[in-house]
Symmetry: C2
Subunit: 325 residues, 2 copies
Amino acid sequence: MPDITDIEAAALRLKGHARRTPLLSSPFLDEIAGRRVFVKAECLQHTGSFKFRGAWSALSALAPGLRAKGVIAFSSGNHAQGVALAAKLHDAPAVIIMPMDAPRIKIENTRALGAEVVLYDRETEDRDAIGDRLSTERGLTLIKPFDDEMVIAGQGTTGLEIAEQAAELGITKADVVVCCGGGGLTSGIALALAARSTGLRARPAEPVGFDDVTRSLATGTRQKNATMSGSLCDAIVTPTPGEITLPIMQRMCGPGIVVTDDEALRAMALAWLRLKIVLEPGGAVALAAALFHGEQITTPDVICVASGGNVDPDIFARALARLAD
Amino acid sequence: MPDITDIEAAALRLKGHARRTPLLSSPFLDEIAGRRVFVKAECLQHTGSFKFRGAWSALSALAPGLRAKGVIAFSSGNHAQGVALAAKLHDAPAVIIMPMDAPRIKIENTRALGAEVVLYDRETEDRDAIGDRLSTERGLTLIKPFDDEMVIAGQGTTGLEIAEQAAELGITKADVVVCCGGGGLTSGIALALAARSTGLRARPAEPVGFDDVTRSLATGTRQKNATMSGSLCDAIVTPTPGEITLPIMQRMCGPGIVVTDDEALRAMALAWLRLKIVLEPGGAVALAAALFHGEQITTPDVICVASGGNVDPDIFARALARLAD
């Protein structure tokens, strides 16, 4: 299990490469939430999501000889772009395995960031077999999206920054709500906060119907989602919590908060209107939890991690349309 | 004329109150521009524009007894919100004079920020007479939008941050393109850069047809805009450069760059897509200049100030629609 020393080491490796994203606020959001709301804008991170931190952490921790051979990742989303850019900046080859039916823009973006994209057919091909073959042939190192100590340590640097920024603002007691998929970001932040700021407690936020972490924390046993499709919050839909991340969250996180897709869209619209940032649905669930489920929060202030902003224009337009309602 | 000492003093007064906004970038924007592009995201400033800096600077520089009587401003836009919030945070009354036909959302926002909004009829009433009467009756101090030394000094703190951030990133030579209306932000930044970073030079960017500053710099004499309406970039449309700001810009700025409304919309869309920030048309003209008029820029890197993000959803939707073209 990674610890605060790993997160501090990751922070040193990330210094000058990842952005220290701002902690934003608006009196209009405070009014809606009934308490002070602070938003850690990780959508402003390189490649538009926190994933760049974990990717940089993992790549920079590799032995140079191994790194020079290259890395491989399975992803059609934010992890793909994070790994592609981190690899490019390390002069390391990156292979990203994506389903053939992934959105064209995501394939193009990943290629434009210098990665080799290998497409597979979800119906007829086994992506793990393709990955294993390429890794063996080329000596590539797999960068997992969340269940990896160096990735968790990288995401945890977000928590170090939150602890510092909260102290600067005089915030001594707050729930820190985190958009949660496999739990890499949530567990990393939880580890950082537990070591650095005892008044701040991480809590996962998830979409309705994809609340495997919330249910795992509530029952004490690993839960699975019944399905993997049907949520607007695709960026944070995973089948089940990670092997490494779940025990950390069980020890250190408060209960999960579950929000609807519509609440995520409204949070996107309010982030656009009041904070001037762009969120994707999966990156807005933490803010939605703070704005619309305040009864589940007991601290005077709340901090939300806005984890990403890679969203298609048509879905964004749907969010903006909610302002008129 | 304000100087670097005034800007440094303003920076001390703003410390802990205004945000140090990030300098963002994306390899995709670099590709379009043919050089490295850095965007100073002042849309992330309190109230969604740089105007909060000047308002805070002016209010915090007032003698306490005068400040307690209150301030007054004429504005239906970003200056109104900046003054309203800065006054509220100083526990000072604020009166904002707005035309009756100003967008309802702007009137509501200004009121929600604690200001008293006084509406007047553009056709039948004289706003200056209303302002004079209120100022005399209540002892209010007028906060001008740009032609005021303390306001210019406050906007100039943006330039101090740009000089620091450029140094951190190893940028030694760059044009700093600034969205320009009356010239408060442009002249403030020019003063700060001239004192702090000799390789950085401020240059105004303006909308086609409203390029009074560009023409004033080119001809050496004060020019006026033929009309005040018809631009999407309403936030930066002013009749003529300021009495204080123009001489500063004449001494310290490079030539202006003029962009079309359509270019501003495309820059908004690209800022949404690649930087995850929300810009209004008038806040996007500097980025539009860097992306689409690179032939007028001679430095290896370019820094653009994205000055504000207060835009209506329908205009924003028009910008996003440009992505599909």
